[in-house]
């Protein structure tokens, strides 16, 4: 069993116990514990179940690479699934539950998959669930969904807050182990501005666990002294609990600081995302130990040798009383010696190498540990916990020579440098034959905007495997980075350690090397996703040659740990199966984040009301006070309708339509885009922007215009007014002002840069109110009568499609006689500062005329009754003006305008293009939005042929029936024909509609022209 030792634990404070629960069971740990250490200290080795076979899983590592021990952490509004216990700091009151099992961790029904494992090989799902589609939907998917997945999804909103932090520096050092600290010393001494980040809460990494001396002191003492020196440097910033998530183009780094994960609810932001710009990056990210592939290497109690050592030294926790060590390198012996020193039993060290002659092996022998070279593990015994191992020859096929009882196995398959940060932005790797690992190739570093390298590796991350080499390499890296970032050259010597002798490691990818299929089926590569040696070999036999394809086919390395343990072993097995060298196979791509980061950190402060800035018109507050139902339009919020007490939104909309048609309606039209185009060449420019001729528009007049993309598709519309000889005012759609402004700027700056034209977006300078209805003129004239405004608003002075400047009442107004409703209508712009007062005055004066404000839905219905198109309804980026019967708005006199050439292409002039028509249902009902009309016959997919679709559809309170517009094949030639719209609501009904003129109301325009 695993237990807390009576002594030891360099990171814990035994005077500060911390209480927590696991699956409701009360447990105790100490300050400085990780959750993993605390669980192990309470003999909780079984922590979860694997993804596919639901096999029992215990912790295998001690850091970020942990694939197995994931828990649901916290509860309620502070609940997060898939949290690695190895990187979760213990705090008082922590609660967690295990994942991926039913009904319980100890007894799991899903483990039946395990016994069916031989029938669930790589690609099983791809091969099995091909057809029929119905079986997939009703049988396979529900079952798989129930059994798949790891943690639970949070059900409550996150109680915590998160923030982004911007940081500019010269040198970022990723990793606060002895290498990172040595680099920091050098970079700091150069005078450069330095940021050092360490993902755990303690400095120094694993070096202190491994022992040795630096500059004649213990590693711990050196770490303390170095930290003191770094803290004294004003140019150095030190951060713990901060992981580098990714390295991006041109020296951009994302740092993920877990500010308050260990102090939940203390008011601080939980996570802080550092958005860092730096000139140089030093990756002192260390290395990760590789597992060995032997049968039963996934049984709880089988762990990385370094992790076994970490738990003893850092947290005073033993994994078992009797630990068998199995290794292919010298480092494994450190674990044997550590255990022995802690008073635990190491029955044997199995060294896969044919001889064990290094100083560490000698030390083990001297300590009385049995050392067996050339030996391997044939099989691990046990179910939920290791009970023993069978030993065999590494060179053989696995006949058991001896059985040894033990409750833990410590395995070491060699070390792989953490190359993620080097690789994220294009750093290349080389295969190191001697260490059997990929390491960064210093000659092919990631390059920045100046073409120079901006990442340098330090220490073990470079492939340095001893303390002495690590320090030397790291100090040099820090020196180089400091200098490259503009610091001064330094002469002061770096920290030193004594050189060590070591026996070369021997790559071991399968144990024993001649293992047969039965054993290979039990050799786990990816623990979380249950990918075994046999799966990778099967993939190779089935023709998978690319490591990227094999990864996706077998799911090797696709779990939450992203293959930190499994990748190298997996691609070694693949290479062997393909009969090629490992470097030929290559690695999969390393992508950020290094370990998963929270969505909260990515979102930062952008939540709730500050998720996106909201644009408000001068009348916005009035709308809110009036209880308007608001809808988003671009970044604006516009009233959809103003429901009165007891009224539904639908009833309110209908009332607004009728009232506007019969009396007087007011619309806040301030959101309408308003662009001023001015200059000697403005007319020429307007003619290019619009399909219409705009240069010949007379001063004082208005014209409805269309804008197209170079592709010919309709992109925006609106009324243009000629202000003076060289000035035009362009109205755009509410959502389109910024886009059209940018569109105009683009052409002026990049194509016609010699044209003398300026464009200004004055949308927010003006408040605009549409005064609409038979009483529109009356209310404005009343304002004039009240306050002596001078503008003549008569039909003679200001006829339809003209505009005038002047005073209306007390207001500085520009009145446009334009109508989007078909009624007598003035759209009146006043300075934004007068907008609210103008609105209030209109409501006040309009009372006797039956004034009511109306919202966007009323606007939509009235324009549809008049057959006016709406950008985004009748258009969707594939519609040209000709489709909408707008040929009258396309100038034939102009040589050129944006979209003209495209509209001459054969597809654009195809008579088969669907064209705009009106649609009225035979029974007066409202057609569903987006409904398709079907014609004769089927297409190649066996679907009914489509002959049209609905683009706008409403209930018209004016006509008391459903009205719609749609695009229909040969539509304008089929007036009066009835076409069919099958419903998709499951009722299996078909709605019949007659093709008609899209103008449903006042076709001659008598109401607006008064």
């Amino acid at each position: 069993m695993s237990t807390r030792l009576a002594q030891g634990g360099r990171l814990i404070d035994r005077s500060k116990p911390k209480n927590f629960t696991f699956n409701g069971k009360r447990m105790k740990g100490y300050e400085g514990d990780t959750l993993a250490a605390a669980l192990l200290g309470e003999d909780q080795m079984l922590m979860g179940r694997s993804f596919k076979y639901h096999r029992p899983r215990g912790v295998v590592a001690s850091g970020a690479e942990e694939p197995n021990a994931l828990v649901n952490l916290g509860q309620g509004e502070r609940f997060e699934p898939n949290q690695r216990v190895t990187t979760t700091e213990l705090f008082d009151g922590l609660t967690c539950t295990s994942q991926n099992h039913w009904p319980s961790l100890e007894f799991d029904v899903g483990v039946v998959n395990n016994y069916a494992a031989r029938f669930l090989p790589a690609g099983f799902y791809y091969k099995t669930f091909m057809a029929p589609a119905a079986a997939w939907k009703h049988v396979f998917e529900p079952i798989i969904r129930k059994s798949a997945g790891l943690g639970q999804v949070p059900t409550e909103a996150d109680a915590d807050r998160y923030e982004h932090y911007y940081h500019h520096t010269d040198v970022v050092i990723i990793g606060g182990g002895v290498a990172g600290l040595a680099s920091a010393l050098a970079a700091g001494r150069s005078g450069a501005k330095v940021l050092v980040m360490e993902q755990t809460h303690h400095w120094g990494g694993r070096a202190a666990v491994d022992g040795g001396e630096i500059d004649g002191q213990s590693v711990d003492a050196w770490i303390d002294a170095t930290l003191a020196e770094l803290e004294g440097m004003e140019n150095v910033t030190l951060r713990t609990r901060m992981m580098a998530s990714g390295v991006y183009d041109h020296g951009y780094v994302l740092g993920y600081e877990r500010v308050a994960d260990h102090t939940p609810g203390d008011g601080r932001p939980r996570h802080r995302l550092w958005r860092i710009r730096t000139k140089q990056i030093v990756t002192a990210t260390g290395a990760i130990e590789r597992p060995l592939s032997f049968a039963g290497n996934d049984i709880p109690g089988v762990m990385l040798a370094s992790a076994v050592r970490d738990y003893v030294v850092n947290w005073g926790v033993s994994i078992g009383d009797r630990t068998v060590v199995v290794t292919n390198n010298d480092d494994g012996y450190r674990t044997a010696l550590t255990l022995k020193e802690a008073g635990l039993v190491v029955p044997v060290v199995l060294d896969a190498r044919s001889e064990a002659t290094g100083p560490l092996a000698e030390a083990a022998r001297t300590a009385g540990i049995r050392v067996e070279p050339g030996r391997a593990i044939a099989k691990v015994h046990g179910g939920k916990r290791v009970t023993g191992v069978s030993i065999c020859l590494q060179a053989g096929e696995g006949s058991a020579l001896e059985e040894i009882k033990c409750d833990a196995v410590a395995m070491s398959g060699g070390w792989s440098p953490v190359v993620h940060m080097w690789s994220h932005c294009g750093g290349k790797l080389i295969w190191d034959e001697a260490q059997a690992h990929f390491r960064p190739d210093p000659n092919r570093a990631p390059t920045s905007h100046d073409g120079e390298a901006f990442v340098v590796t330090a220490g073990t991350a470079s492939g340095a495997m001893s303390l002495a080499e690590t320090l030397e390499d790291a100090y040099a890296a820090g020196k180089a980075a400091g200098k490259a970032a503009g610091g001064k050259a330094i002469r002061k010597a770096g920290p030193k350690a004594d050189a060590e002798e070591a026996q070369p490691m021997a790559p071991v990818w399968i144990m024993p090397q001649g293992a047969g299929p039965q054993k290979r089926m039990k050799m786990w590569l990816d623990y979380q996703n249950d990918v075994k040696v046999s799966d990778v070999q099967l993939a190779a036999r089935e023709g998978y040659e690319s490591v990227e394809h094999t990864k996706r086919y077998t799911t090797l390395g696709m779990a939450t740990d992203q293959g930190k343990l499994s990748n190298i072993n997996g691609l070694a097995v693949l290479s062997d199966a393909l009969g090629q060298e490992i470097p030929t196979t290559g690695t999969t791509t390393f992508r950020p984040p290094y370990t998963p980061i929270s969505f909260g950190a990515i979102a930062g402060e952008a939540r709730h009301e500050i998720f996106q800035p909201i644009r408000r018109t001068p009348m916005h507050q009035w709308h809110e006070d009036a209880g308007a139902y608001m809808e988003p339009v671009g970044h604006w919020r516009r009233p959809y309708c103003y429901a009165k007490p007891g009224e539904t939104n639908e009833q309110a909309v209908n009332r607004e339509v009728l009232n506007t048609r019969e009396n007087l309606g007011l619309l806040d039209a301030s959101t309408l885009g308003k662009l001023i185009v001015k200059g000697p060449d403005a007319g020429k420019f307007m003619d290019m922007m619009y399909t219409n001729m705009m240069s010949n528009l007379a001063v004082g007049k208005c014209r409805y215009g269309l804008m197209c993309s170079e592709n010919g598709f309709l992109s925006d519309d609106g009324v243009v007014a000629r202000i003076d000889e060289d000035t035009w005012l362009c109205h755009t759609t509410s959502g389109g002002a910024d886009r059209i402004h940018a569109w105009m700027e683009e052409w002026l700056q990049t194509e016609w840069w010699d044209w003398k034209v300026y464009v200004a977006n004055v949308t927010e300078q003006l408040a605009q109110v549409a005064v609409v209805g038979p009483n529109a003129r009356k209310v404005l004239e009343k304002l004039n009568a009240q306050a002596g405004g001078g503008m003549d608003l008569s039909a003679e002075a200001l006829p339809f499609m003209q505009w005038a400047d002047g005073k209306i009442g007390a207001f500085d107004a520009r009145a446009y006689r334009i109508s989007f409703s078909g009624e007598l209508s003035y759209e009146i712009a006043v300075p934004a500062s007068q907008g609210r007062a103008f609105w209030d005055a209109l409501l006040d004066a309009g009372e006797e005329f039956g004034v009511m404000p109306y919202g966007t839905e009323c606007l939509h219905i009235m324009r549809a009754e008049k057959g006016f198109i709406m950008i985004g309804d009748e258009t969707d980026g594939t519609v040209i003006p000709q489709d909408l019967g707008l040929n009258w708005a396309i100038s034939k006199k102009k040589d050129d305008f944006l979209g003209k050439r495209a509209q001459q292409r054969s597809h654009m002039t195809d008579p088969e293009r669907w064209k705009l028509v009106g649609l009225e249902t035979l029974d007066g009902s409202v057609l569903p939005d987006g409904a398709y009309a079907v014609g004769e016959g089927n297409n190649v997919h066996g679907q009914r042929n489509m002959i049209g679709r609905v683009t706008s559809t409403y209930y018209s309170p004016t006509l008391k029936k459903g009205i719609a517009m749609g695009l229909v094949l040969h539509g304008p030639d089929r007036m009066g024909e009835v076409i069919s719209f099958p419903t998709v609501d499951g009722s299996n009904t078909v709605i019949k509609a007659r093709i008609c003129d899209p103008v449903f109301y006042d076709k001659d325009g008598e109401k607006q022209n008064v």
Binding site: H250, E746, R905
Partner: protein, 107 residues
């Protein structure tokens, strides 16, 4: 995230302050052009592995369009220059050529 220097205001701008506009120095074909010419203008874009001339707009800054000569593989930026030109500056082309003699040059 790239950094590009805006040639108008001199700011070293983060990519988030910029808006990419695709290949630079396109020749516009309007009415009167052949279908092939127009199709090429509208749809055919270079996608080189290496030196590329691009359009960018300093959208969250001075609002100006400019051009950048950039290496799509190494992310090296050889230079930026105003958009009011139909081809890259000769000095810039020479600078790139000197650094990458194997480069075919601007065409």
């Amino acid at each position: 995230m790239l950094i590009l220097e805006c040639p108008y205001c001199g700011v070293m701008a983060d990519e988030t302050d910029l808006h990419g506009g695709g290949e630079a120095h396109l020749k516009r074909y309007g009415p009167g052009s052949s279908d092939d010419e127009f199709e090429t203008y509208l749809f055919h874009r270079k996608n080189p592995k290496g030196v590329h001339f691009e359009r960018w707009r300093h959208v969250s800054g001075c609002g100006k369009w400019f051009h950048a000569a950039r290496n799509t593989m190494t992310l090296e930026v050889y230079g930026t220059y105003p958009a009011q030109t139909t081809e890259p500056p000769k000095e810039l082309v020479a600078k790139i050529k000197k650094k990458h003699p194997e480069w075919g040059g601007y065409e």
